[in-house]
Symmetry: C2
Subunit: 211 residues, 2 copies
């Protein structure tokens, strides 16, 4: 059983369980999703990341102790508290940003990254190194909640088209909110390079561990 | 359709098609396997790698032009001619060593690598960086053909057990010959850390591209 940590507070069960649904549908992975408290706009700055880290660590410990999960994935591109959580529990801990960046490097040497903030998540930039072609974000978006606006998908697709025009041979999503809105399926109709969705990348990581 | 390049010359159709069978069984991937000529012991030194490279490049071009494959994977841990082949064709070219190393980094920070030569393949070492815990190879083995000996599997399992005893949190195979002999399935009965098989890693890479 995989524990999925959402770094966005929500009382909408449909949004909370979205990543678990993808895991089941795409990889036949059983999982439990839980979210951190009191961060209704998720992580979108250094300050909100620092605020979230102790909450994430507590949730990692609790999911291992109380839910009995055999691995935990922190479903956020910024990889908050991934390193520190590894020291707290004796099961594997994945970070969405890390596994996504490594998945992109399996298939591409010119990775175009789509996020929600003005800066590429540092851990993704570090792993991609010279293979980070460019980074961008959809116009008018600054938190994961903004992605739920009606035309956010169209603006995200336009941003990805720009990355492809610049020579990207893959698109890496650097926010799991793109998974929540199902961007990949729509984007694949418009661009023809591989697209790395972070929930799918976390599913691949868990599948590699499970076998 | 995926083109698989085997860097071991063989006239045994069963051995030649082994990686294609795994691709079909594990990932439902259609593929064609072809091998380079006149290297019955595969690649097991710098000299044999240099000898193989122009043959691999020719085979990459031929499989794209004549077989119509939409991606090519060079099924050898040393990643021979991967970079140079990318310049010759306009389809993705994967290297088994590269994709395997990135797959290992998705799930582990202490990777134990099992190869067949006294030195870890340089491209794998470069990608793993500080996360390469240790490298070893089965006693008495020096080419991929030696893996076909009766007790080679037992010696490979002993070598992996040593890596786990040293603290490895994953095992990465650094020879596709281990796939040919089906080592992973047997090894998984003896050790309890994730095992990255290079044919499976290549399957994941192609699956990421195909979607």
């Amino acid at each position: 059983m995989l524990g999925i940590i959402r770094v966005l507070t929500t009382d909408d069960e449909n949004i909370l369980q979205e990543h678990s649904r993808v895991m089941k549908r795409e990889f036949n992975i059983e999982s439990i999703s839980r979210c951190i408290p009191d961060q209704w706009n998720g992580i979108h700055s250094e300050a909100t990341q620092r605020l979230a880290e102790p909450k994430i660590e507590a949730l990692v410990k609790s999911m291992v102790e109380n839910d009995g999960v055999t691995a935990v994935t922190i479903s956020c591109a910024a990889d908050p508290a991934v390193e520190s959580s590894r020291k707290l529990v004796n099961v594997p801990v994945y970070g969405a940003g890390e596994v996504g960046a490594h998945a992109a490097l399996m298939i591409s040497r010119k990775v175009g990254v789509l996020g929600i903030t003005p800066d590429v998540p540092p851990n993704i930039a570090k792993i991609l190194g010279d293979h980070l072609l460019d980074y961008t974000w959809p116009e008018g978006v600054s938190t994961t909640v903004d992605l739920l606006e009606e035309d956010a998908k169209k603006r995200a697709i336009d941003a990805c088209q720009n990355l492809v025009n610049k020579g990207a041979t893959s698109i890496l999503f650097a926010c799991t909110g793109f998974s929540t809105i199902g961007l990949k399926m729509e984007l694949a109709k418009h661009i023809h390079v591989p697209i790395i969705d972070l929930v799918e990348a976390q599913g691949i990581a868990y599948s590699l561990t499970r076998k």
